[in-house]
């Protein structure tokens, strides 16, 4: 295991007034397994923040903990000043937070149209179907296809598309590029850039930092359930060696 390097900047350095999401000492458990050991980070409005880390570091668990779909959690997660730690998942979703899970969570017995229209509109400002089809033209052609009959890329597009309709302004995308062809990864990259331009705030979980570098404003490196480093995209080149060590690439 590589030696854990000292962070050049404290993750807390980015803490400032005007953050949309503030995570403090977040701890989570799967049954008896203690997964997160005090996560600290924040996200500002309109940013794309990426959590980087190896498998099992706790990135996905962090997203699930923010969303409230994990057995036990403690610490503090504040979204727009509201504490989420004791809130149920459906209420968290209604605040405008949406999760696009790693396994995509497409409902197999529903077709594309039904999957798209299923999530409740939680607040105004969601994308219209026209805008969604402009982002993902493939979906328009596959409206009547069952969820299971889509390719991996199409499933990923659908998983992202359906949360855009809900009016959620804070999107959490869990490894959206995993297992996809380069051309689809490129399309997803364009989509994230476009969403950022339109004012969405995005918390991205990625192992592929080459992809992340095309869209992210800032990075946090997660290891053993903690944020061990953080830097801005502008400092990526300077931190590349460290990043290689952290991620073991």
């Amino acid at each position: 295991m590589p030696e854990v390097m000292t962070a050049t900047r404290s993750p807390g350095e980015y803490s400032a007034a005007g953050t949309i999401l503030e995570v403090r000492n977040l701890e989570s458990w799967y049954g008896e397994s203690h997964i997160l050991h005090g996560m600290n980070f924040n996200v500002k409005p309109g940013e794309v923040v990426t959590l980087l880390g190896r498998n099992g570091a706790g990135k996905t668990t962090t997203l699930k903990s923010i969303m409230g779909i994990i057995g036990k959690r403690s610490g503090s997660v504040q979204f727009n000043g509201r504490e989420l730690i004791r809130m149920t998942s459906d209420k968290i979703a209604r605040l405008g937070i949406a999760l696009c899970p790693e396994e995509r969570g497409i409902f197999a017995s529903l077709d594309v149209r039904e999957n798209l229209l299923l999530p409740p509109v939680v607040r105004p400002g969601g994308l219209t179907l026209d805008q969604i089809f402009e982002l993902f033209p493939n979906l328009k052609e596959r409206l009547k296809s069952q969820g299971t009959k889509l390719s991996g890329g199409e499933q990923q597009m659908l998983a992202i598309a359906r949360i855009l309709r809900t009016g959620a302004s804070f999107l959490m995308l869990d490894e959206p590029t995993e297992g996809l062809a380069p051309v689809i990864i490129q399309q997803i990259g364009h989509t994230i850039a476009r969403l950022k331009k339109e004012g969405f705030t995005i918390l991205l979980v990625e192992q592929n930092f080459r992809f992340a570098s095309t869209v992210a404003d800032r990075y946090y490196v997660v290891e053993h359930g903690k944020v061990i480093d953080g830097f801005a995209n502008a400092d990526l080149a300077a931190n590349m060696d460290k990043l290689h060590t952290y991620l073991g690439v």
């Binding site: 969303m67 779909i69 459906d90 899970p101 409902f107 529903l110 229209l117 299923l118 026209d130 949360i163």
Partner: protein
Amino acid sequence: MTSITDETLPITPRAVRDEMIVFVIMAALLAIVPFTGLYPFFVMQALCFALLACAFNLLIGYGGLLSFGHAMFLGTAGYCSAHALKVWGLPPELGILTGIAGAFVLSIITGYISIRRQGIYFSMITLALSQLLYFVYLQTPFTHGEDGIQGIPQGRLFGFIDLSKPTTLYYVVLVGFLAGFLLIFRTINSPFGEVLKSIRENEQRAISLGYKTDQYKLLAYILSGTIAGFAGSLKVFVAQNASLTDVHWSMSGEIVLMTLVGGLGTVFGPVVGAFVIIAMQQYLAGFGQWVTVIQGVIFVACVLTFRRGVVGEIAHLFKRSL
């Protein structure tokens, strides 16, 4: 570019069209039954059980909740209707409404208790509640214990439809069955039904999209219990009695069997399953207790060889939704 909105998206996919065509064929076939020489009592009884199985299927097939106590709705509505008709002397329409109301109230109470549990725990709680109710009905004077309520008057529906005539009663039961079936059909093809399916597939995901899934499940449970109660009320007019058999756990088991044989999660499966099981009981009655053994063999054969059930296998073969 043509504007695409929620309203202009296709609302009648091929699956629903197929199902509507089969529904019309089924309704037409059932409508000509009195002219075929088939024993109407058998078909009426099968229709009541078919509606009951459809109500059960709404919960397990679309909501993923296996209730092992659905007989309590059948029995409770039966007792309520029978009491209202025989003791209070209410007309048939009010007798039916009393039964439905009884099942409705019961489903709210039992649903509230059981709906927060999942899987085997939900099944066990519903079984325990139905057994509890069985023993209550065994002791309560108004049910007449093991004798049950016998000789229930059929009366005149709305004052002019004479239910003592078998053909008239048949069509009333048929209309009741079709109405209940259409209500379930509409429910599973509505946005509410889609949310139910999403809960069945991945409840955690449905919650994280912003749905209060317990509320949806409770609503489905109440709807299922109330429709099962409607089936119980109709059955009172057919059998002219209400007995403990309808609340017994073995009746809940039969409902599960009917749904599995016909096809879990299919629209028409429970109807076919109910007809198969009732036909077996009717035509194999000469074998006495062996009917139960034969049912057991069929159940095992069904699970081992065609797990999708009769309708499920046909639908799979023709790649259609039925």
